[in-house]
């Protein structure tokens, strides 16, 4: 039993650390800030070939190529905005996990809050109706 546990834990540990080690081996950044930006960008950019994976999770060739491109642009000193615009110009807004705010994405951004508001209104109305009923009885 204890052995099984150790093996499982080892597997878990390997699974977490191997990709991180591999990435560090291959990519060299000038400073930690660049590496940080790279990590954020490959997590916020969606793989154009996959349905729901970001660039950092996907092993498809195009995701690898785009990761390399993000790396080159980060090291070259391009801003996050420039990198994101570069990807959108080629792959469309599909690649953004954080869509831009514009009329067509209004519901996407604010829909949940609108629904929450409607829920709150209904909640208050029901409560006050019940109170009035109780008062009458």
């Amino acid at each position: 039993m204890i052995w099984l546990r150790i093996i499982l834990l080892t597997c878990l540990g390997l699974g977490v650390s191997l990709p991180a080690l591999a990435a560090e081996e291959l990519l060299h950044f000038d400073n930690p800030a660049q590496e940080q930006r790279f990590q954020v960008l490959v997590e916020e950019l969606r793989c154009p070939k996959c349905q729901n994976q970001n660039l950092s999770d996907s092993n498809s060739t195009i995701a690898t190529d785009l990761r390399d491109q993000v790396y080159r642009m980060v090291v070259r000193g391009d801003s996050n905005e420039q990198i994101v615009n570069y990807m959108v110009a080629r792959y469309g807004e599909f690649v953004l996990y954080k869509p831009t705010q514009k009329p067509s994405t209004f519901l996407l951004w604010y829909g949940p809050f609108i629904l929450l508001g409607i829920g709150a209104v209904i909640f208050v109305v029901v409560i006050s109706l019940n109170k009035r009923k109780k008062g009458k009885a």
């Binding site: 154009p48 498809s60 060739t61 195009i62 190529d65 792959y91 469309g92 599909f94």
Partner: protein, 169 residues
């Protein structure tokens, strides 16, 4: 009045049901190209048959197809025969040998025939990224103004050509 309110959840259910039903059967892999309507990106690529960098001057005049292919791509061998037929009809096709090796590509064209007006090598896939390609095969229609008019992902066949043809002008 109260009874009518009880039907609200049912109404919401019907509206959502219709909404979701309309989304069924949609091709989830369809992705419109971000380049449609825009001029073809600039490039500097080496043709398969020479060793000099070329740009837009190597492209045909008038509307033509750009076909991304590779010897490692199984669907490319499926569509190859149809590309040969299109070429025989006089449709100019620019081949982009995508992330491939020149020797393998030359052998492929010797074995299967060469439907391309020109084949350019995109060994690193940089031009592919500029075109928003996600894999091979992909086929673009470029109109006579040099603008990207249409993009098709996957095998080109008779049915797909019917669509592509509409953009060749």
């Amino acid at each position: 009045m109260r009874k009518a309110l009880l039907f609200i959840p049912f109404g919401v259910f019907v509206v959502l049901g219709v909404l979701f039903y309309m989304q069924l059967g949609k091709d989830v892999h369809y992705m419109p190209s971000a380049l449609v309507g825009k001029p073809l990106p600039e490039f500097q690529l080496v043709p398969l048959e020479s060793s000099e960098l070329v740009g837009h001057e190597s492209l045909p005049k008038g509307p033509y197809l750009i076909n991304f292919w590779a010897t490692w791509c199984p669907s490319c061998s499926i569509e190859h025969e149809y590309l040969m037929a299109l070429a025989a009809e006089g449709v100019p096709i620019v081949g982009i040998d995508y992330k491939d090796e020149a020797d393998a590509a030359k052998q492929w064209l010797l074995d299967k025939g060469d439907p391309y007006a020109v084949v350019l090598q995109d060994e690193m896939g940089y031009f592919g990224v500029d075109m928003g390609v996600t894999g091979a095969p992909e086929t673009f229609v470029v109109d006579s103004q040099g603008r990207v008019a249409y993009r098709h992902q996957g095998v080109v066949n008779e049915a797909v050509w019917q669509t592509l043809q509409g953009y060749m002008r």
